[in-house]
């Protein structure tokens, strides 16, 4: 079920009403969350419910089998068995065809004959990683294994964040399902506002950008350098608004149920270098990789060559997480190359505050740094958007070496992008663009809601799916 679909507009109020009718009955509330989440997920393809149930059951069982007083060797075996099972399923559905066809090509055979052509279950990478984090954290002793199977199923399948994150940690989300939730008026109102902002970013900004971006990528040769540069910039905005819009809707929706999800994006395009960008982009995934891969490998507190190795590993894995294509690996490698000089010079944590904090406008230097970071990120997104490395190279060649003919930027999309960036700049110290907790006058608040609703209604594009569903 899509957040932007009419079915969801019916589904959400019904689940919300039933959920709060069951208040003070945590177990029944959790059961409702599981049932609702399975309906939400099964709306695409009910067959994949078995897969998510299996993944959840494996992780739940592994948690129970890991005993703090048991032998380390046994616990390690249980954890790795669970990781193996989960990654095995993920690998089969997401990566088998890629590896099989590449291997067949290397051996000079036809790739088609060895491919399984399985349908990729929506959100498989998200819920797999969420389930994995639980058994790893139980093994590490960061969280006690739960015996409440319903709460655990609710933790893995909680519908707002099931198919595109944020990828929650058991340490944050699971305890919320184990205790009683109280309805919090301010939190619920803020949730509705955040959902509204998410819808604006998705259907107005991202999907209006998509119209131009798809057209340009559909016929790269027909466009001159300026249009291609605009398309690269607009895709950068599109993917941000598409994904962070989804996250805003998910986080806002969870707030309606008294659940706090982690922040997934923190105005990444106002970053002053690539390291800051990665602290603000898809935070739930980058911190997942940091905690479960990078730090166990030694992080940055090891010999220089290991730092280089670790940096490349984490960025390549991050790229590959997005999909089985050389373009994603190249995108990861590109960012590793940008990140490496900063970490080797010890400057990767230079900017941990919010840019221009306490000021209306950034300084010239900050503006230049943000522009440069955006341009570098946009160059990387070209790899991400292209279907193949060849297509990406064609795009770069045409963008840097093409003619300066026919500059026709989509002005409407540009205006929406500018409006979105302006709002996010003004609200950069807050939770989301429509956080109006500081606005005293009700009329002003309602005027803002109405304006956003009107723009969504008039200029929204309603037939696009979310980019990150494919991951």
């Amino acid at each position: 079920m899509l957040f932007t679909s009419i079915e969801f507009m019916v589904f959400l109020p019904v689940v919300f009403a039933l959920y709060w009718l069951l208040r003070r009955q945590v177990r029944w509330q959790n059961l409702l969350v599981v049932a609702a989440s399975y309906v939400f997920y099964g709306w695409w393809d009910w067959r994949f419910l078995l897969l998510i149930a299996f993944t959840t059951a494996c992780s739940y069982a592994s948690g129970l089998m890991i005993k703090p007083e048991g032998s380390r060797r046994r616990n390690l075996t249980v954890m790795w068995t669970n990781i193996g099972l989960n990654l095995g399923i993920l690998g089969l559905f997401k990566y088998y065809d890629f590896f099989a066809s590449e291997l067949a090509r290397l051996l000079g055979c036809s790739g088609d004959s060895v491919m399984l052509n399985l349908i990729l279950p929506v959100g498989i990478s998200f819920y797999t990683f969420q389930a994995l984090s639980y058994s790893i954290d139980v093994y590490r002793g960061k969280i006690a294994p739960t015996k409440d199977v319903v709460a655990f199923f609710a933790y893995v399948s909680f519908f707002p964040q099931l198919v595109a994150g944020p990828i929650e940690r058991a340490t944050n989300l699971l305890p919320q399902f184990l205790r009683e939730r109280k309805f919090d008026y301010a939190m619920a109102v803020d949730g509705v506002r955040q959902m509204l902002w998410g819808f604006f970013k998705k259907v107005v900004v991202a999907d209006n950008c998509a119209v131009f971006v798809d057209k340009v990528w559909g016929d790269i040769g027909a466009y001159g350098s300026p249009d291609l540069a605009v398309a690269a910039a607009l895709f950068s905005i599109q993917i941000y608004c598409d994904f962070s819009g989804y996250s805003d809707i998910a986080i806002g929706c969870a707030k309606l149920f008294g659940i706090k999800l982690m922040r997934n994006f923190n105005v990444p395009y106002f970053s002053r270098d690539i390291a800051e960008f990665w602290r603000r982009w898809h935070i739930s995934l980058t911190t997942w990789f940091r905690d479960y891969i990078y730090i166990p490998l030694g992080g940055s507190r090891v010999a220089k060559w290991k730092v280089v190795r670790n940096t490349f590993i984490i960025f390549l894995v991050s790229g590959f997480w997005h999909g089985a294509n050389w373009t994603f690996l190249a995108w990861g490698a590109f960012h590793a190359c940008l990140f490496l000089p900063l970490i080797l010079m010890g400057k990767n944590r230079k900017y941990t505050d919010t840019v221009a904090e306490g000021r209306w406008l950034p300084g010239i230097k900050e503006l230049g740094q943000m522009a440069l970071t955006f341009v570098l990120a946009a160059l990387g997104w070209v790899l991400f958007r292209s279907q193949s490395i060849g297509e990406a190279l064609d795009f770069y060649a045409a963008m840097f070496g093409g003619g300066w003919h026919g500059f026709n930027p989509p002005m409407r999309a540009v205006v929406f992008v500018a409006a979105m960036l302006l709002v996010e700049w003004l609200q950069r110290g807050r939770g989301h663009g429509l956080d109006m907790s500081g606005v005293r006058y009700r009329a002003v608040r309602y005027a803002c809601y109405l304006a956003v609703l009107a723009v969504i209604f008039v200029y929204g594009v309603f037939n696009e799916t979310f980019i990150y569903f494919q991951f």
């Binding site: 109102v189 209604f457 200029y459 037939n463």
Partner: protein, 310 residues
Amino acid sequence: MRRFLTKLAITIAALFVLAYGLDWLITSNLRHSDARMFHTYNAIYNDSLQCNALIMGSSRGQVQYSTRIIDSVTGLNSYNISVDGRCIDAEVTIYNFYRRHCPKPKVIIQNIDWGTLQMSNGYEREQYLPYLRKDNDLYKEIKEREDFSWADHCLPLMRYAGYHETIKEGLGMKAKMARPKNIDRGFIPTDKEWDGAAFRAIHALGFTVNDEAVEIFDRYLQQCKQEGIEVVMVFAPFYIGATEKMGSDADSMFAFYQGFADKYGYPILNYTYDSVSYDTLNFYNASHLNRRGAEQFSLKLAQDLKNLLQ
């Protein structure tokens, strides 16, 4: 909780009232819009056309059949309900709409060509919006083909979401829409001269059919037959160079339609090789006659129709 629900209920109720008001305003204005997209549906709905002959087709039907000339020669009282950019599915939809609001015609002049028996691809889907909520039959007929949901049919304003030009038009602002000034009972003469660029870009032209479209066409002819409506199928002039590019597909096309003509006993008039087809002065592109060509063709057609219908 109570405070939240109360506020939410008040907000939703207020939005509903606003939505109903806006829906009424937009729909009313669109039903009187002179934009090409809405013109024919509005003419059928508002004017309850009193005609005994209908001209049906796509853009080729719209720009090539002069109702005035046909009426002056044949004595018929015709109206052209062709729809731009569409195929037989949309042509039959507007015909059914016509039948729900207007009296039965005696004759239908049905333009047929290489693109008729395809399914439309959602082009100018907005043309249905002003009538979608009230007209159950229209909704049932097009909901799957045009991808409309129950919310588009039942809820106020939903169906207009995202159609900013249509909303502007409905709010009485100047929307960017084609509005031909010289529509003559559905006929839209075009004062353009031959542009060979599009023709030169065509390497080959084929005749293919869509099974669903063929079924719709067959059902429509069957219905006409049962109701005693005479259907005259017409191959309008087509620039001869383009027909040559079709090669043997042209003959396949004639034979395919002849099958329907034989099945239902309806006549076919073929102007593919008429002298009008040989002169680029009569066309603005390979498949559309300009005003000059349309008037020449309409006169010939009218005389043939007169003989045929006597």
